[in-house]
Symmetry: C2
Amino acid sequence: MTGHDSPIAPGFLRVRLCVAYDGRRFQGWQSQAEGEAVQDHLERAVARLLGFRVVVQGAGRTDAGVHALGQVAHMDVPPGPVPWEKWKPALNAFLPVEVRVLSVRRVSARFHARFSARGKEYVYRIWNDTFLHPLEVGRAWHLPGTMDLNLLEQGARCLAGTHDFGGFAANRGTPVENTVRTVDRIVVRRRGALVVLNFRGDGFLYRMVRLMTGSLMRCALGRLPLEWLGEILEGGGRVKTSFSAPADGLYLKRVLY
Amino acid sequence: MTGHDSPIAPGFLRVRLCVAYDGRRFQGWQSQAEGEAVQDHLERAVARLLGFRVVVQGAGRTDAGVHALGQVAHMDVPPGPVPWEKWKPALNAFLPVEVRVLSVRRVSARFHARFSARGKEYVYRIWNDTFLHPLEVGRAWHLPGTMDLNLLEQGARCLAGTHDFGGFAANRGTPVENTVRTVDRIVVRRRGALVVLNFRGDGFLYRMVRLMTGSLMRCALGRLPLEWLGEILEGGGRVKTSFSAPADGLYLKRVLY
């Protein structure tokens, strides 16, 4: 079901879903044996409506604890059992409150949530103060210490662009052949204790946003020089950073098509 | 310990605390038999530092599920065992992550968290869309339906000012003698699905913000005319509204001294 062609079953129609979730509640996006991934909950909700199970193919996996404001997925369904305007309320009625389908619309059979994606936007939230605000528990990375915003912005400019990001990727199953990606922009904003990083790029390797964030923070806190970021980029995967920011602060904001 | 004079024990010093919490985790502010109120957690943390229990007197109670961004409390402690600069980190080390002491400072023995308060500011958050966003669970009131912002603003202007708010109060133990209060302002803002009400006043009766919000929403949704708000105000407690907004959306923002 994840091939580039992804043929649609005869008589079935392709549907695009936009989904938001609070990552703390789930074992990530990707279906798990325990059935507590977001995909599992969606596939069960669909099965209750159709009477049989179909695959809900996401644009990308998010790890356990990672949130989504605009994850995108597609699925193929028969035209009959559920009228178009009923899909959204019906799915939400069968889903836990921590995941919500924001929109459902019919798309061409050529649309593929993963392979049609031209890029993604992620937000990473950091709470830079001695203590984590109680309303930020599970929603931001608590990072005390004196952060140099200038260094952070310089580091962000260093990482933006087209590079071999192999050094900013964790291993997961089969190795990715091509680790060259383009990060269009990394925008840094600070408001009080809250530091927000906004990443947009044509694609991100496994753990890439968390590894970029964790590494940028090593520099922003003055623990490592900015040159170190350049060395990892130039290493093309032979040197890897191990400074990963936690899942709590990461949000998949939108998928670009 | 809650008398207007609130004498201080000889040799003890009065300390003012500013506290934030996620209300979902606690049985409200006020100490409970089960020991799961915010006050209970604070008093236990203080007792671990001092070796004996002292009362942590809050500026006002918040119900179970109600959040605080800037609750204020005071307590009397001996000058010896904990140095001033250590109180904040030491208390936070013994508290659950859903409650945090934001500041600790020494105040005059005349300061009383409750009786010195000149006013309070509350925020009420409403999610006005068909479905509640998953990241707003427990943090906003989910209110679907078409909301008329003009009616809401007119209703807010009607409630602001000095009135007998007896009709916007729930009963709790001993009746309050004087139910006249001044609400300086009720500011309404809308951004997308999120509607935020900001209340500032010299004091609020039990459940008053939730009853005002719930009643304003009856008008904003067109279920009751604005004149009905005026009738409740004029009734001076003989007619009571029963439309209470849930705890989830309510935040004690600050206490004014």
